[in-house]
Amino acid sequence: EKADPQKTAFLLRKAWTLYSVTPMYGFRRARLRDYARLLGAFIAAEKHKGLAVEVGVELDIKVALSSLADIRGSELDQAALLVQLSSRSQGSSRNSEDKPVWWGWFCSVFGDELSENVPEHFTCLPLFLSHGAESYTALVGSWFQKTFDCCFRRLAISPLNLSWMVAMWAGCKLDRAASAVELVFSVPRLAQPLDISYAIHPEDAKALWDTVQKTPGEITQEEVDVFMDCLYAHFHRHFKIHLSAAKLVKVSTAIASAHCDGIVKILHSQYLPGVLMLLTELAISQIQ
């Protein structure tokens, strides 16, 4: 259940853009090498067509597909699938190393709700995370869509879900050097836009959450609401501003950070499965 920290180190501290992906038809684990070759050829062809990825940069793109066996929730989940694009600049010697330029991985952590109901020949990996140039994401995404008849959609995170995340993560056990629990609000529709950053000392945020949460290991919507109301009330006491009327756009803790545009950063390997489980749930909601 716990992912090997070495293999998953590259997942941490990167900003991942989130997508939901519908089940893929005809995907076969045994053919990863073939897929890598085909995807590589597709990318080269698209570049040749003049849809250059980066102006003035001549790069040979190498594609690698691999399975991340450790990233899954239960046996019902498919193992995660990693796509990595590396560049090898032209004219360099054989000894030059490939430089990774783009990562994308599909995963499902306790995505039983989806995989239970899916017909044969379909592979469920509803959550897709990418890091790197948007143009590469578009290329990889369109190849997968064409090849496996699936559909990618950007996964936005609502203020409701962001408040779940911040409540959950604020309650996690802390290292000594934990960073603040920060909520970022944006006030729309004003003549001059206003952003409000509300950062709470992690010990104090956890202390608050600990008195709100009634059953360890279990979180209810009511508890999240109470936690948020406490933070709003403390803020209102000082500034007379109703933060609840502002738009929560980003939350950030020592565990992870998440932005409403569907961008997350995971900072702690220990909590990787928990975060992925939550995101898998969001992805599945969007698909259904």
Partner: protein, 346 residues
Amino acid sequence: MDETVAEYIRRTVLKIPRDEIKMMLQKWGFLSEAQLQTLNFHQIKDNISQEVVQLCEENSADIKQAAVLDIIYNHIYQNKRMWSVYQMKRSGEELEYFDITDFKKKFKRRLRSALKNVTITFKEYEDNAIWIRVAWGTPHKKPNQYKPSYVVYHSQTPYVFISSSVLKSTLPLLCQALIVASNYHDIRDMELRSHSLNSLKDIVFKRYSQNFQTCTPKPLQGGNVEPEIADIRIVEENRSEKERIHRLNQEVFGSGPQPKLEFAQYRLETMFKSDPKMDVLDKKEPFRCLVKFSSPHLLESLKFLAPAGMADAPLSPLLTCIPHKARNYFKIREKKGLYPESFVSP
């Protein structure tokens, strides 16, 4: 001409938008009008700056002249820098006669006695502002011209506006030299920062429209309130509430434009108070928070919070006190005693 000076002039010219290069060189006055005529301002900036460097070579420019060009650039593009306001204090009430030559001499002497390698440049502007540029070196290295500090001092006032070098250790030296040169005995950070130098001046020189008390409610005016609706079948909800908010806003903010600040930061060390029924946190220690408001024009955006329904009117004094307390960094602690609800800002 020194290689480093040539490179510095080249890079300074490159920063200037192409349409403004001629004007800035004219302000600089180091190149003659005849020399300026020879420049082709319609080519790419790289080439223009090379040509400027060649002309400077002809005139044997040194770092002192190059530094003046840099001040001119930064005076025009002052809003690219972050400025902090400091206030100097005198021991007595004596009004000293300000002698600019004496000031410059003392300033240079104080800095040079502490640090041999410094480049110090002064430029006076019409509004009684003295601009000072200091490039810092070490006992063994020539001054780094790319990380200077800038000071704007209005000699008729105790205020200095400092755009610090990224070399943090230089700030104490700079402050020392300022008080020695201007015959003050102390200087304090007012915790007031912004990119808009003029707005900072507006705040400390009290040049913005301040609170005014209205004895009688004013008739509706200004952009805050919707225009009269002609159709009598349409009734405006909460009209009196809207008027009340508008009036309170006027009282707090005045009717003129607000000084331009980009952020306000509050370090809260107050207690967390809650409804006992909620059975939540009841600690005896402060609930530590850091709140930061950011906006391209903070005070204007705060002004519209209450009319937008996002805030109560009147707005919290923690926010409305910013211009007249002349600060935008605050540390808020609980006030002890009879009124635990009020806050004190040291």
